[in-house]
């Protein structure tokens, strides 16, 4: 146990020096050429905002079912199969069939190559499920159909979220999917997430529709409130142009009226439709509706064929900027709700770093003093090992670009406290061996060998706890699991290679001394 070949000594030295260098790279800037990895600071240390958004898919499902009723109606009409009374209730489509047609309707829905009910060849499951409830049939999305629907609205939503966050221009945002209906947004360095929160909270569904007094409008009408919440207007459900037709939107200052406006440019289709609508609708009020509320409803005075226009609505420069941003980045497929928010100000983050470092330094010094007083020369060996261990731990974290959190720092301090355990187990065992063994070398050898199972068991148990914590924990706690887990490996390395190397050198030089430890 105490013999080290020259090659091994070289390897241990190189390895330790390498990691000490990597760890120190966090302190100096190597101009990103030599080595550009760094330990990332968690949001709790550098300050920033963590937002968990949940997509509310209900309106999407409702909308898709609405579209489906039309598809189903047309499909069976073509096939000359009569279905009546098709309607949506509690997110199910219901319709009536005649006794004669029932079986063919069921067959169409269950057919593997059905045009009406796709997915089967790909997922071995249909998009829709049909339930046989007499002559009144019930159709809704299957599990697979719902999953598809959710992931596709998640894909769209994450794209829009990314655009909106990028437009605001925070540094290195982190936007990730969570499950199939959530989006995680991490915004480092963001002190006040108010603006981003309000931007993400809006669906930004923009439509231009005529105000009408005709209750029997062919497309149906609805009563909508103005943004100020006071007035109301009846608006046709016919959409002239929507947000999808916008190419660009910018906040502008209208010098004539001395107000802030949002000017927009339409794509070709939009420009054509807008031109036609404004030519036929001169004198009518055109309502500009955003997320179910009327921003303004100007009277059409001229035909606008240029494909550009402006929205006014008592904006401040800030609200105009935000509206333009929302319109540029597009509408979300479904509303988002912020279900978890954690924001840490940058000065609290810095305070936490300072407190963590002070605690680390004090904990370290206390342990070092304790070990030196208790074991003298072997305490010194332990202490040197402990320092190298700390550097290797930081080096590994740097190499993997791990995220260091406040609990993570606690994990490092705890590692310092527990890392001596292995050395203590060995030294205590050596002491026992020395009681009935006069040969120092044999006693040390025995101490190392006999303490091995206990050390292994002890570390595996802690490692198991760390692994569970890593997989079950979230955010900062995960950082704790990482440092604790990595700490176990670096500790074992430093105890069995570095400390043992020092011990072997010392023992072989003083093998004839009595009471070596």
């Amino acid at each position: 146990m105490l013999y080290f070949s020259k090659l091994r000594i070289l390897f241990i030295t190189l390895f330790s020096v390498l990691f000490i260098l990597i760890a120190s790279s966090n302190l100096f800037k190597f101009d990103d050429i030599f080595f550009d990895k760094k330990i990332n600071l968690g949001l709790d240390l550098q300050g920033g905002s963590y937002l968990l958004l949940e997509i509310d898919n209900e309106p999407v499902i409702e909308q898709k079912l609405q579209n489906l009723t039309t598809t189903i109606r047309n499909y069976f009409k073509e096939k000359n199969i009569k279905i009546n009374n098709i309607k949506i209730e509690n997110q199910n489509i219901f319709f009536n069939v005649t006794e004669n047609d029932k079986q063919s309707v069921l067959d169409i829905f269950k057919d593997e190559n059905s045009d009406l009910n796709p997915y089967y060849p790909r997922f071995k499951s249909h998009q829709l499920e049909i339930e046989d409830t007499g002559l009144n049939l019930k159709v809704n999305f299957s599990r697979q159909g719902l999953i598809k629907l959710k992931t596709s609205s998640q894909d769209q939503a994450i794209e829009i979220v990314r655009r909106r966050v990028d437009e605001v221009g925070t540094n290195e945002p982190n936007i990730l999917k969570r499950g199939n209906n959530r989006i995680l947004v991490e915004l480092p360095g963001l002190d006040d997430p108010m603006r981003i929160k309000s931007l993400l909270g809006k669906t930004a569904n923009l439509t231009f529709r005529f105000v009408t007094n005709d209750e029997n409008d062919r497309f149906g009408v609805e009563k909508l409130k103005f943004e100020n919440g006071l007035e109301e207007a009846t608006v046709s459900k016919r959409i002239i142009i929507s947000g999808e037709n916008l190419l660009d939107a910018q906040p502008k200052m209208d010098t004539q009226a001395n107000q802030t406006i949002v000017s927009f440019t339409l794509d070709r289709v939009g420009a054509k439709r807008f031109g036609k609508a404004t030519s036929t609708g001169i004198g009518k009020q055109l309502a500009i509706v955003l997320d179910g509320k009327i921003i303004s409803a100007p009277v059409v005075r001229d035909t606008i064929a240029s494909g550009s226009g402006q929205i006014s609505g008592g904006f401040t420069f800030q609200t105009a900027t935000d509206l333009a941003l929302l319109l540029r980045s597009g509408a979300l497929p479904a509303p988002l709700e912020i279900i978890e928010e954690r924001t840490v100000g940058p000065d609290l983050g810095q305070d936490s770093i300072n407190a963590g470092m002070i605690a680390l330094a004090i904990g370290f010094i206390l342990v070092i003093i304790f070990m030196f007083v208790k074991y003298k020369i072997f305490g010194l060996i332990t202490n040197v090992t402990l320092i190298v261990n700390l550097f290797i731990l930081l080096g590994v974290l740097t190499l993997f670009e791990a995220t260091l959190t406040l609990p993570g720092i606690a994990g490092i301090i705890l590692t310092v406290g527990m890392a001596v355990d292995a050395n203590v187990l060995i030294f205590e065992r050596i002491k026992e061996e020395l009681k009935d063994e006069n040969n120092n070398i044999l006693a040390f050898d025995g101490g190392y060998t006999k303490s091995r199972t206990a050390i292994l068991d002890a570390n595996i148990t802690t490692l198991l706890a760390a692994i569970i914590l890593f997989f079950m924990g979230s955010g900062p706690v995960k950082g704790f699991a990482v440092t604790l887990g990595v700490g176990i490996f670096t500790t074992l390395f430093s105890v069995y290679f570095i400390a043992r190397l020092f011990t072997s050198i010392y023992v072989s030089r003083n093998k004839d001394k009595e009471k070596l430890i």
């Binding site: 100000g345 936490s352 004090i362 205590e428 002890a458 148990t461 706890a465 924990g473």
Partner: protein
């Protein structure tokens, strides 16, 4: 040699009482869950005006109809921690609060930290916390079952339950807050307590193989004494590190380090007075170990 075994019965009785009290506390008083597990909003605020104090803040927040509000000092005289239910899960609550506080205090305060956990998320976090702790206990059970004879597993697991339950009992008694970092602490305690027990058990088993004529009652005592200096030194260095975190690591880590300190103390105690006494009560002998050795 210290005669630990003289007090086996006394401390078993004490531990049983502690466990019963802890369980009663957990059932009837319950735990003080933080917003991580209960949902709600937390605001840490730093004031630069002496007009801002616990009672003036409480008045302000109570006027805002936020449900249950708790205001307390956080670390020093200028920092405060405000927690409230946010029962309607209002969206722009933070902005509303800022507007409201501006009216009374002007610009003399600063939000250092804001956490808002919706009811769905808090329920999930609680669930995953419970799963994490149960899973770790189960894994430890399996590990020690593979490594040792069943009598040892039972001893270790009982010690583990004791540590977790009594630590949580203390948290219940003093209404200390349970948040995500406490779950991390409990898991670490599980690891530490196991670690401590395993080291002594390792020695007990070694001694069982070595001596055929020493009764388990004596043998556990010998083993405890042989590993005693290691037990003391390791728990001392771990406690030193934890005390450093507790006193210097800032307010946020206080609960975490306190739970760990309790866990290390209980863990060290239970390795000696619970794990070992189970071996004694189950009359473990050399035969137990040798029978297992033959099987392997």
């Amino acid at each position: 040699m210290i005669a630990f075994n003289k007090y086996y019965n006394h401390f078993n009785l004490l531990s049983s009482i502690l466990i019963v009290i802890s369980l009663l506390l957990l059932i009837f008083k319950g735990l003080n869950f933080g917003i991580d597990f209960k949902g709600g909003t937390l605001v840490e605020l730093r004031a630069s005006d002496s007009k801002i104090n616990v009672s003036s803040l409480r008045d302000r927040f109570n006027q805002m109809d936020l449900g249950d509000v708790s205001v307390k000092k956080f670390g020093n005289d200028t920092d405060f921690l405000v927690k409230f239910e946010n029962k309607d899960n209002k969206k722009n609550i933070i902005e509303e609060i800022k507007v409201n506080l501006d009216k009374s205090f002007g610009n003399n305060y600063d939000f250092r930290r804001v956490e808002n956990v919706g009811p769905k998320v808090s329920a999930e976090l609680l669930k995953s916390g419970v799963i994490a702790i149960s899973l770790s206990l189960a894994l430890m059970l399996i590990y020690i079952w593979i490594r040792f004879e069943w009598q040892f597993s039972l001893g270790a697991i009982l010690a583990l339950f004791h540590d977790v339950i009594v630590t949580l009992g203390v948290f219940s008694l003093f209404s200390f807050e349970i948040n995500l970092s406490i779950i991390a602490a409990v898991l670490t305690i599980v690891g530490y307590s196991m670690n401590d027990t395993v080291v002594i058990f390792d020695r007990v088993r070694e001694n069982l193989r070595k001596y055929s004529d020493i009764k388990i009652f004596e043998l556990t005592n010998i083993s405890i004494n042989e590993t005693l200096s290691r037990t003391i030194i390791t728990s001392a260095t771990t406690l030193l590190a934890l005390l450093a975190i507790y006193f210097f690591g800032g307010e946020i880590l206080k609960g975490f380090s306190l739970a760990m300190i309790l866990g290390v103390v209980f863990g060290t105690y239970s390795s000696i007075y619970i794990a070992n006494t189970v071996l004694v009560r189950l009359r473990v002998s050399q035969k137990t170990v040798l029978r297992e050795d033959e099987k392997k």
